[in-house]
């Protein structure tokens, strides 16, 4: 019998380990390195003089970081909640044997295929007072109509929410719709036989049975929040001032724009901790569900 690389060797472990080393190096290696650097006073270039948790305590006394964190909470909660709520609602509507379902679905989902860069720009033009909503309303005769959230430090963050929701509702909808379509007709028959009103059927029977689907959609949307960079850059540029800054932009700015690597690393590590805090309950719930 001959023996060559295409014969007699069935060793998937080698391939898997090889690829895992790449993932480990770039993902986990990077995390470790960033963790180390966050403990140093590195500025323009990485240096290894350790300063303990100085960078972290500096972060907590930096207004811009606090603002970006608060923004992340505001943006994150609203983005996830509104996207999910609207997504679930639209999915339920489309599941009611709607005519032209395919067309509606395509319209609701297409923003997901539009880059966040273009999304941000399109909404900026809409929010810009010079030609956007304000100008349009004034054109209709409401001379004193004012809509200037982009330059309002209190409200700029909400423009991000609107654009983000526009981008992601379709995504939430599709996931929930897939879940709804997976529900057996027996459950529906039972609901009808029992004479349960439609809205109660959805609220108390159908949606609870979809919770794994909803949970994974929430986790995916939440991970968008932490990675959201493109949208801020194009829509508000973090402004006015740093009123609509997000940690994702804060970290990149300090890595590259402001050459403050140690500081930026500390911010990235805190971002990772936020992710972990979000994932632990999710994985734990999945693990529990699998055990049952």
């Amino acid at each position: 019998m001959t023996s060559g690389s295409f014969r007699s060797s069935y060793r998937p472990a080698r391939v898997a380990v090889l690829f895992f080393l790449v993932v480990a190096l770039f993902f986990y290696g990077s995390l470790v390195w960033t963790g180390v650097i966050s403990m140093t006073s590195s500025k323009l270039l990485p240096v290894y003089n350790f300063v303990g948790f100085d960078q972290y305590s500096r972060l907590w006394s930096t207004d811009r970081w606090i603002v970006s964190l608060v923004n992340m909470v505001i943006f994150g909660v609203l983005y996830v909640v509104v996207s999910m709520a609207l997504g679930i609602f639209l999915a339920i509507l489309l599941d009611r044997n709607v005519r032209g379902e395919g067309v509606f679905r395509a319209i609701f989902l297409y923003p997901f295929a539009v880059s966040l860069v273009v999304t941000g720009l399109a909404w900026r033009w809409i929010f810009e007072p010079a030609q956007g909503v304000q100008a349009i309303m004034r054109g209709f005769g409401f001379e004193s109509f004012a809509f200037d959230w982009l330059s309002d430090p209190e409200r700029a963050i909400y423009t991000l929410v609107i654009a983000g929701v526009w981008h992601s509702v379709g995504f939430a909808m599709i996931i929930v719709l897939a879940g709804l379509r997976g529900i057996g007709s027996d459950l529906w028959k039972a609901i009808r036989v029992e004479g349960i009103p439609l809205w109660r059927g959805y609220l108390q029977i159908i949606l609870p049975s979809l919770w794994p689907v909803v949970a994974s959609a929430v986790v995916l949307l939440a991970s968008d929040v932490i990675r959201a960079y493109d949208l801020v850059i194009t829509l508000t540029k973090g402004g006015p001032g740093f009123a609509s800054d997000l940690p994702a932009k804060f970290a990149v700015d300090h890595f590259f724009g402001r050459a403050n690597i140690g500081f930026a690393s500390a911010a990235s590590i805190l971002m990772m901790l936020l992710v972990v805090a979000m994932l632990v309950p999710y994985f734990w719930a999945e693990y529990r569900a699998q055990k049952k």
């Binding site: 019998m1 001959t2 014969r7 069935y10």
Partner: protein, 357 residues
């Protein structure tokens, strides 16, 4: 043709033992069936022979060669799977010749064997179809063809008939048996179907709880089961049992609530039988007698018509027994009746160990 020799083979997943101390000597050209209920370890054992799983301990020889750690492809065997496992994107032709092409067999040789195997199995017309375009029976033939084409010394079958309907199953059974007779390949065949085991095997290994209970010819296993498990597992309806205490003085007797049962004439297998035991009698080994005439009293509970014969279900000592009788034998439900049997056709098992006495 090659022999297969398993020496003390064991397998466990973590702390869960699946197989322990398996010893089998399968002769060259022999058709061996591994029979047992689901979860008994028979498929694991087959996978270990195939090399798809590694044993946790023990040794495996095919022919004279120790192949315990050899790659499946280097063991010189072929396998037919339960789901057929045809490669769905390849035509039948390519499915059949895949292994030969990997071995870089010369093209002329491949064509020759393809012709031989497709004629043998009458699948010449299917060669250019994809598996998705075949019926279950056709897929089965292709799967067998793929195993035969390489003319290996050993062929393994993993419940190959369980996805076929009853009629096709019987036909294919006959056909596999014929192929074995013509080709003489050593076959190891896993099934949970005792009819397949009884009709096809030269020898049957009955497995339970990861152990070989008995390895013998189908007839021996049926007539002289060596353990209580084998006795209960084979036969339909299954063997009838009665428990009591064995006493050896003044001829072998089973002492029980309903009086002593004379068992003189029983061929003792192991030592001097005594103590708690179970008596087993096959449904066809029982004779109906007038009430009070036989050694046992019974009451007919229900009657199953089987066509060729009839099964009477009756209560004996509070247990439900079955008796096979010719179809003309008159009787009715509720009738009190006597039963008798020849002690030589009965089996005795220890209550403690389950071993034949």
């Amino acid at each position: 043709m090659k022999s297969i020799h398993l020496r003390n083979v064991s397998k466990s997943y973590g702390a869960t033992p699946v197989l322990s101390g398996i010893n089998l000597q399968i002769e060259p050209g022999e058709f061996t069936v591994l029979l047992g209920p689901s979860g008994c370890g028979k498929s694991t054992l087959l996978n270990i022979i195939a090399g798809l799983e590694d044993p946790s301990g023990g040794q495996l020889l095919i022919g004279d060669r120790d192949v315990t750690t050899a790659e499946p492809a280097d063991r010189g065997l072929a396998m037919v799977f339960q789901s057929y496992a045809l490669f769905p994107t390849m035509r039948v032709r390519d499915n059949l010749t895949f292994g030969l092409r990997i071995d870089r067999t010369p093209r002329a040789e491949i064509e020759k064997r393809l012709k031989w195997v497709s004629e043998l199995l009458q699948i010449e017309k299917l060669l250019d179809r994809k598996p998705g375009q075949l019926s279950g029976g056709q897929r089965q033939r292709v799967a067998i063809g793929r195993a035969l084409i390489r003319s290996t010394d050993v062929c393994l079958f993993d419940e190959p008939l369980s996805n076929l309907d009853a009629k096709l199953r019987t036909e294919t059974r006959v056909e596999i048996k014929k192929l074995h007779r013509d080709l003489g390949t050593t076959i190891v065949y896993v099934t949970h179907d005792q009819v397949e085991a009884m009709t096809m095997a030269d020898r049957v290994a009955v497995l339970s709880g990861g152990k070989v209970e008995q390895y013998d010819t189908p007839q021996a296993i049926y007539d002289k089961p060596m353990t209580r498990f084998v006795a209960g597992f084979l036969g339909s309806p299954s063997m009838n049992f009665l428990s009591g205490t064995l006493v050896a003085e003044n001829g072998l007797r089973l002492v029980r609530g309903g009086g002593d049962l004379d068992l003189s004439g029983y061929e003792v297998t192991n030592g001097a039988p005594a103590g708690e035991a179970e008596l087993g009698i096959r449904p066809e080994a029982l004779r109906l007698t007038a009430p009070g005439a036989g050694r046992l009293r019974a009451r007919v509970e229900s009657i199953d018509l089987m066509g060729a014969d009839r099964i009477l279900w009756m209560s004996v000592d509070g247990r439900l027994w079955s008796v096979r009788v010719e179809r003309d034998r008159a009787c009715r439900e509720g009738e009190e009746i006597g039963l008798d049997f020849s002690a030589a056709a009965a089996s005795l098992f220890s209550r403690d160990t389950g071993a034949r006495l």
